[in-house]
Symmetry: C2
């Protein structure tokens, strides 16, 4: 029963009381016929006991399907998201679903709340591919798939998740450098979601080889400027560095500038590996060795998981990690001077 | 009267018969009260004489405004469009309009028709920032603003247009190189919309200086690979080249690779100018001098033009060219060897 301390029951309270998932409550509210009579009764009883009133968006959804999926990304300037979206579309389009995309950077700049925008559009489901401000996803009563990130501060930890294995990716990058004879390998990290996993993969590969990890950039972001700053910090603290595992491709390009300023070249003096295998990495002038997280395939698998969830709200959470691969170009090479 | 040769009257036929714009016919169909009684009567008479039946989308529009604007772009991988969209949003959001974006490259890959998608969503208006396949815009009966391109093969040549002045931009880039003492300046072009304007600006600046233009890449696209190929063709045909005006920033990065392959560096041997002032141009490792077409401002001005058109369907076409500026970084410098 709502009290001042616990003001208004949410869909989470209903799900907890009924012993079902949030998605299932949402399906009952929409009048879906994919719900067993027993579960429907449990949800209806919980709604009555708690005095739960569905939101306006949920009410609208009860009357119609919009066949629209809201997709939350971080920044369209990052080609990773463009590929993810292409993968999503490759599955949603043939299923006659439209993707409505919101870019968190853009939304922040214009001061709007993207999730409210999606609910106003009556989306049938959400693909969450970027971490919104805390609380933004509270009370969202449509099925959600987390795409491209392994963890998210979601109220419901039973969400479906499809992601690339960032930890394995950074491990592959580090092992590639170890195989080329490098021992003094540094890592450029940042505060973002995949950053922590990539760092863990680098650290694990270093420790497996009996080497001490060297990480810079913990306090920064993941832009080219952040990569430059982290590489400067690394090279100043450890001038003997012969290889760098960057948190992503633009950070790797920042590292190339830090090297050049110190009279060093890649790969002659220092090898550099990126992550994401963005179009940038393939530009001949850069030719970055990079980890391909197969973001297009992540998008396609996330869309398949979403359609499955809409059909089977009651299925156990779907967790899928796609295996990355390393694309070797000309920014990495054998260690030249063992004394450096 | 519809015949076999002229099967079904379109909104263009109605507009022509009534002596008004397509947008005004659209407004009458939607029951707008921004239309003078005389014009409304003329449109209604034309509809009756021709036996015109509005499309399903038009009928839906008659009953409601969706406050959604369809935005047609070419490729989200190009940061130019990301900036254009940010500008559009900066005006549409406060006016409580939602932008629904379609990416032609993505649509082509998934085999869908973006304009049909917009009409199914009942958009109130379209922003056309990329050239769709011929015929795609035929029969579109909502107001349209062409953004970022000066010309478009539109059936109605009275469309509102807001664009950067690409011709002036390329002229600025060429004059910058002339001012640094360069005379053997080549241009890398491509088949796309702004390419023709940029080429014209380069050619005009060369002729004004009494110099012969040298252009490569006419048959190609505008990617990094196209820039590389065009630069190879230029440098092979005219090894005495000391400066290059590239059609855009990624083409300029392609040119840097062509130079390096020939043992040449920018700016020591050959100066290189890009166009678009993308995030790429500002990366320290590249540091491209580039023309800033102010795409964010183009987007904002296009959105203002669109809102004005929705309010005043009968106003004369709005044509606005924004003045670009040159951002000088370290890919250009004084000509070193006058004999090259």
């Amino acid at each position: 029963m709502p009290t001042d301390a616990n003001p208004r029951p949410t869909i989470y309270d209903v799900a907890q009381r009924a012993g079902v998932s949030k998605s299932l409550v949402s399906l009952v509210l929409r009048g879906s016929d994919h719900v067993s009579p027993a579960r429907r009764e449990a949800v209806e009883a919980a709604i009555e006991e708690l005095g739960y009133r569905p939101s306006r968006a949920a009410a609208a959804l009860a009357s119609q399907r919009t066949r629209t999926v809201g997709v939350l990304i971080d920044d369209f300037h990052n080609p990773w998201f463009v590929e993810l979206l292409a993968g999503l579309r490759s599955v949603l389009d043939p299923a006659r679903y439209t993707a409505s995309v919101a870019d968190l950077q853009l939304e922040a700049a214009t001061g709007s709340n993207p999730v409210e925008g999606f609910l106003a559009q009556h989306v049938d489901a959400l693909v969450v591919a970027a971490e919104p401000a805390p609380g933004t996803l509270d009370g969202v009563d449509v099925p959600m798939v987390v795409a491209g990130m392994r963890e998210l501060g979601l109220p419901d930890d039973g969400a479906d998740v499809v992601a690339g294995d960032d930890e394995l990716g950074a491990r592959l990058a580090t092992k590639h450098l170890l195989g080329l004879g490098h021992r003094r390998i540094g890592h450029l990290t940042g505060r973002s979601g995949p950053g922590a996993h990539r760092r863990r993969g680098y650290e694990a590969a270093m420790r497996d080889a009996g080497l001490e990890p060297a990480v810079t950039g913990e306090a920064g972001g993941t832009s080219e400027a952040d990569g430059y700053a982290a590489a400067c910090a690394l090279l100043d603290a450890r001038p003997e560095t012969t290889a760098i595992v960057a948190g992503n491709d633009v950070m790797a390009v920042g590292a190339l500038a830090a090297l050049r300023e110190r009279g060093l070249a890649a790969p002659a003096d220092v090898s550099v590996v990126g992550h994401d295998d963005s179009p940038l990495a393939a530009y001949r002038f850069l030719g970055l060795t990079s980890v391909d997280g197969h973001s297009r395939e992540v998008g396609a698998a996330a869309a398949r998981a979403l359609l499955a969830r809409l059909d089977h709200p009651d299925a156990p959470p779907h967790r899928e990690l796609l295996e990355p691969s390393l694309v070797v170009r000309h920014s990495t090479g054998p260690v030249r001077d063992a004394s450096r």
